[in-house]
Symmetry: C2
Subunit: 327 residues, 2 copies
């Protein structure tokens, strides 16, 4: 592996000049430049990023977390974030956390150890305070997870309101015994959703117990499995709030199999308004959120932070919209 020193020697100039050429600095004679380029070619030199990073104290890289790569909601979300950051000239790398605290720790470590210039987290099992304490004055931005202590910049959706309106809708439609399905119940997001669910019941003078909540299901397969359990003994649920559209589709598939008629006997509402909603019969009702705007604002804010602008932490919440289709 040739280094700039090798290039310098071969082309008869100094390291500095080589560096100038590599980085397209002005004030290099055409002659020197040519000789350097030739040497680079000959030795097939490539810059060693490790040296650069140490020297310039930056890696121009932003980390983005995702619970698991293969996720119908988070994949498109992170994809959007990534695209925006790239356009702003940053390299972006994606980390899976597997809903694990230890994985999260590792990412914050990468940040504090300077492998990353900033990280964007799309979900977390930690409190804002703990994150803040771990990363100090390094930049971390929260996307999608509704944290609210103001330690970090957070851009999130109004989860409780979305669920509230969906729940209220179902109850007003005459549904009496609803099931609430959470994905990973430990996150603040899921807690907010549950609160919306409970609040809607309260406001309409309906009772609602913790029995109506079930956690840990999110995929199509899991929806089918869960449905097979629920519908086998002819449950008395007449409405389900699924934590994701995929889960909802799995439930719907199972309901059909067990002869439960949707929406006659059972109503189902999904989450995220994924295109899959259009493929079922009847088409799946769902909740759509303004993720696009959320991502735009977040990245704008991030760039300001990276540009050393000073301002107090930002917290912005985006509204959801209930989309009623056939289920």
């Amino acid at each position: 592996m040739a280094t700039i020193l090798d290039i310098a020697r071969l082309s008869g100039v100094s390291k500095s000049t080589v560096s100038r050429v590599i980085n397209n600095h002005p004030h290099v004679s055409e002659d020197s430049r040519k000789r350097v380029m030739k040497a680079i070619e000959e030795l097939s030199f490539v810059r060693n990023a490790r040296g650069v990073h140490l020297r310039i104290k930056s890696t121009n890289t932003i980390g983005v977390t995702i619970p698991v790569l293969d996720h119908p909601y988070f994949s498109p979300l992170v994809s959007k974030i990534a695209e925006k950051c790239r356009k702003a000239g940053y390299k972006i790398v994606i980390f899976q956390t597997y809903y694990s605290i230890d994985e999260e720790y590792e990412i914050y470590e990468k940040l504090t150890e300077n492998e990353l210039d900033a990280v964007i987290i799309t979900h977390t099992l930690l409190s804002e305070e703990e994150i803040k304490q771990r990363v100090g004055d390094k930049i971390v931005m929260v996307c999608n997870e509704p944290l609210q202590t103001g330690c970090l910049d957070v851009f999130s959706l109004n989860e409780s309101e979305a669920v509230y309106s969906a729940t209220r809708y179902l109850l007003k439609e005459g549904r009496n015994y609803l099931l609430f399905c959470a994905d990973e119940e430990r996150t603040p997001l899921q807690q907010q959703r549950w609160e919306g669910f409970v609040q809607a019941h309260l406001d309409l003078n309906k009772t609602c117990t913790i029995q109506q909540k079930i956690s840990g299901y999110s995929t199509i397969e899991e929806g089918i499995i869960l449905g097979d359990e629920i519908f086998l003994d002819k449950s008395n649920y007449d409405g389900i709030l699924a934590g994701s559209d995929f889960l909802a589709v799995g439930l719907l598939t199972s309901a059909k199999k067990h002869g439960v008629s949707v929406p006659k006997e059972l109503s189902i509402i999904g989450f995220d308004n994924h295109p899959i909603c259009l493929t079922t019969f009847p088409a799946l009702s769902s909740i759509q959120n303004q993720t696009e705007m959320m991502v735009n604002d977040l990245v704008t804010c991030l760039l300001d932070r990276l540009g050393q602008k000073k301002f107090s932490t930002i917290r912005r919440v985006y509204k959801g919209e209930l989309i009623i289709r056939g289920t």
Copy 2:
């Protein structure tokens, strides 16, 4: 930001000893260790990875490419790869290529510039030779893309055979005019699939023209759009080989909408055997591949390469299986 020098000074030892403590080296007195730990605590020191990387000439990081994050086939695939590598003690980072050659170049650059110890590519628009020429003796492994010139280690699926058997099946069932849908037709993978399609026709003495091939569709939405075009003017296709299950589901949705009866008038076969196959009515026929085994073998091989073992390039192909359901 405190450095080991600060720690050394505060604890009254040398940089070397601090380094030994940080890295859990033996031969450090209990006393020194304690003083160093105390200083680390006091100054809330964290190691700067940039210095480490430069010094140890490694980042312990493996890059994995994915065309786009939000992809029903690649997401689970990359997820599996990532998990295996992590278990082997490597950090892994994921890069989106957006089916763009320039993005690919950037990743190879990261490899040659030593930001990465190895990269695994799950698809490519380049030839093996060009990749090899760009990365030299750095490690790049190919997963899923059926390259065959032997410059690199490649682990791939037998795409042509899978499509061949599906096509043959449809033709034998009496279907006469099939449509072949490719995702991104420039890749070798898609070319192999097309070859399988053509070969099956040849072997059964059927004609087949380039008109029967269509490219650039892969999502549910695109399936619906494509279906809306095809079924509007009552096409005479009586069978479709969709490049992915999601595309197939979109097509199926559109077919229903236009009153095209499946499987009576039209047969559809998807690809990848995603759980979504179970959610349609009739359930979607598809092609299942041995991705699990492919990933295992690939990572094993990668670890050998990283462990400096010498052996000539490996090329392994895994068989697919046609799964006939209702469509």
